[in-house]
Symmetry: C3
Subunit: 145 residues, 3 copies
Amino acid sequence: MNMYKKSSVIISMLCIGLTAMSQTGKSNAVKHHVVMEITSNDTLTWKGLMNNIDHIKETWGDSVLVEVVAHGPGIDILAKAKTTQQKRIAGFKQMGVLFEACNNSMKAKKLAPGDIVPEAGIVPSGVGEVILKQEQGWSYLKSGF
Amino acid sequence: MNMYKKSSVIISMLCIGLTAMSQTGKSNAVKHHVVMEITSNDTLTWKGLMNNIDHIKETWGDSVLVEVVAHGPGIDILAKAKTTQQKRIAGFKQMGVLFEACNNSMKAKKLAPGDIVPEAGIVPSGVGEVILKQEQGWSYLKSGF
Amino acid sequence: MNMYKKSSVIISMLCIGLTAMSQTGKSNAVKHHVVMEITSNDTLTWKGLMNNIDHIKETWGDSVLVEVVAHGPGIDILAKAKTTQQKRIAGFKQMGVLFEACNNSMKAKKLAPGDIVPEAGIVPSGVGEVILKQEQGWSYLKSGF
């Protein structure tokens, strides 16, 4: 049954792909998609995450789309009162990196949207977002040591 | 050669998919598949895992199939004498969540099948199970912070 | 747009696959591909990684290709002066397991190629390597607890 689901997705993608090719005649500039999950509130782990984004962007520039999903104790990296990384987050946002805060984690920590850094969006479920991105073919990186 | 393997899989899936569509005419109720790997014996990590399953089931109900694979030090979450989570495991099992204990880890810790919570199955290799599920298109979540 | 990229990849794979089938008439011996990411410098985590490789090779022998990518603090597992695992690394290398050191991490730690165990190759970016392998359909395992 999973096979059925997957083959339906693939057939749809083939159709969309063939249509897209006939319409544009060229390939898309974004060649790599990565979802990075951060669940730790350890500031060294946050620094490691930022270094990893640095290296990904150095390697692939605008041909990679990176989304960082923060949830659980990791929500703090996107909380104004807790983050040690706002400057780097702002810089990466300028370069097209996406940051998403988990609404479930925000509720658990009584964080309002105004308590989150302005560079970040909010997703209903952090863990759900990581799953959805993988379903869409994104590579997955779990942060931490 | 990897390309060859993948294309064979895709061709098979297309054939199975087309057959399935002609037979059933509708899609499967399970739309999301997630394998969650737990290798930690830290009870806070276990609690975080349970919270994540909660949020996944809240979001997708019966349209998601979740399998938890416990191995290494994480085997303890499924050991009667060690787990702090049997009540939640039992509740999730009722909701269709699968729990699998790694037989390699059980042998290393001298755990017999009777030492494992009754809600869990046993797989020959925890790490092998996580690999197989990803090969079948399941999303992967590594537990821990 | 991601859909477009994926469908192009799939169309290419179908063409290559059909060509390969007509040429070889049989499938490849390597059926499983796994990339294992190690970012920790904790020796217990290293031991757990080695145990996992053991179990994977026990299960699948030559039908699995394993690549270990070490970066961040995890680079030390491949540093002659730091590793506690050179004997097991050498044994796994004999069995076809690949070990790759991240050049970015080597530069950050002022490690020259001669400071790395001879069993390991060097990749420009460890995190990039893990992404590329997933794009090629490899299963992903994040090491650690």
